[in-house]
């Protein structure tokens, strides 16, 4: 039988948040706007207590929960896996849940919505374009026999084969790269580093047979050629995806440097 030996249940968890001594206060400035209602951007300032592990997301949620319930912000996993919380933190596109206040070395923190995405409200931006550009890249394995039969086993792929695309498949679609890219700043039709990197992710996968399809798609007047290897995408990518590398490698096929 399942045997229980412990004498008493434990209660101290509740106090996690309340027992801290190293308290410190910062000023959090949040950009507020509601374009649908015609409200232009203004900045609200809040004093927020922080500890050494407090993340910017936690600071924003502190405001939302205690000081102003109306802050509009997107979040979910709080561990840099879901890609929800991209925003501009002190001017740089970053994930709020992945930026500790203490890393910023500043008592004033300004958070603004990511550039190059339409604002829905406050910090929440519209991802329609990123989502549809991602879809245009045919981000799936293209081959006749991609559906299994009862006899199917795996397609063989060595660890070295996996390494060729693994890094690019860690894209969490946070959009930070698109927010940093200089072409994105003015070109409304550019596919963007996120989509281009995903096109390469599938091209580099040796199970895939859709290279020609995808090369055709990216070879467009607002496609891959609008990347000038500015590298800003890779500079801000929180997951080491290195879209700049993916794009150049993909272009290598178009220029005939790669087979």
């Amino acid at each position: 039988m399942a045997v229980v030996t412990a004498p008493k249940p434990s209660e101290e968890l509740i106090s996690i948040d309340k027992t801290l001594d190293q308290l410190n206060t910062i000023t959090l400035r949040i950009a507020r706007s509601n374009p649908a209602e015609g409200h232009e951007t203004t900045y609200s300032e809040f004093k927020v207590p922080v500890k050494k592990w407090t993340t910017v997301l936690e600071a924003i949620l502190y405001v939302k929960q205690n000081l102003d319930h109306a802050v509009a912000v997107r979040y979910s996993c709080r561990q840099a896996s879901c890609g929800s919380c991209g925003m501009k933190i002190n001017g740089k596109p970053s994930l709020a849940c992945y930026t500790k206040v203490s890393e910023l070395h500043s008592n004033v923190i300004t958070v603004e919505p990511m550039n190059n995405f339409p604002i829905i409200r406050d910090l929440a931006v519209d991802f329609k374009q990123l989502i549809s550009n991602h879809k245009k890249m045919k981000p799936f394995i293209i081959r006749e026999d991609s559906e299994v039969t009862p006899e199917s086993k795996e397609f063989i792929q060595t660890p070295q084969d996996v390494e060729k695309y693994l890094q690019f498949s860690y894209c969490i679609k946070c959009g930070l790269c698109n927010a940093a890219c200089p072409t994105m700043a003015t070109d409304t039709s550019f596919i963007g580093p996120q989509g281009l990197a995903q096109a390469y992710r599938y091209v580099a996968d040796n199970r895939d047979k859709g290279k020609e399809d995808r090369l055709k798609i990216v070879d467009d007047s607002h496609g891959i050629w609008r990347c000038h290897f500015a590298g800003s995408c890779s500079h801000v990518c929180p997951k080491g995806v290195d879209p700049a590398m993916a794009i150049q490698l993909l272009r290598g096929y178009l220029l005939g440097f790669q087979k």
Binding site: P113, A230, R251, G252
Partner: protein, 144 residues
Amino acid sequence: MAERLSNREGIKGMANPTRYGIERVAYWLQRLTGLGLLAYLIGHIFETSTIVHGKVAWDKMLEFTQTPQGHIILTLVIGMCVFHTANGIRVMLGHGGIGVGKPGQPEYPYKAASLNYKQRLCIWVSIGLAALAMMYGASVLFGD
């Protein structure tokens, strides 16, 4: 949604090289020097076209360009040309997927392989060569 509300950075964002490291500076310089060179090329074609009007016209043009201002412009053009060429070769190779690093499992804290030291070195070398060329050019132009 109207593009007006799209929160794009616009030209200012594209033209601001002060963020995201030296690669962004290189991008910016490449654009600027490209445009500068194009402007010079057009000017240069007009300049040289004076020759069809004979020696007098040509000499007048020379007189006009061989001033300190003219020399400064020419020095700048030399620099622009050297930077644009050297960096252009780097960019071209990069665009072909050469020297942009090898895919592999990234290790936290992530450092993008495409922003590697070779690329950075090439950018600095391009800037350095441009500076040297400008110094040499200036010494030829201003020296007697």
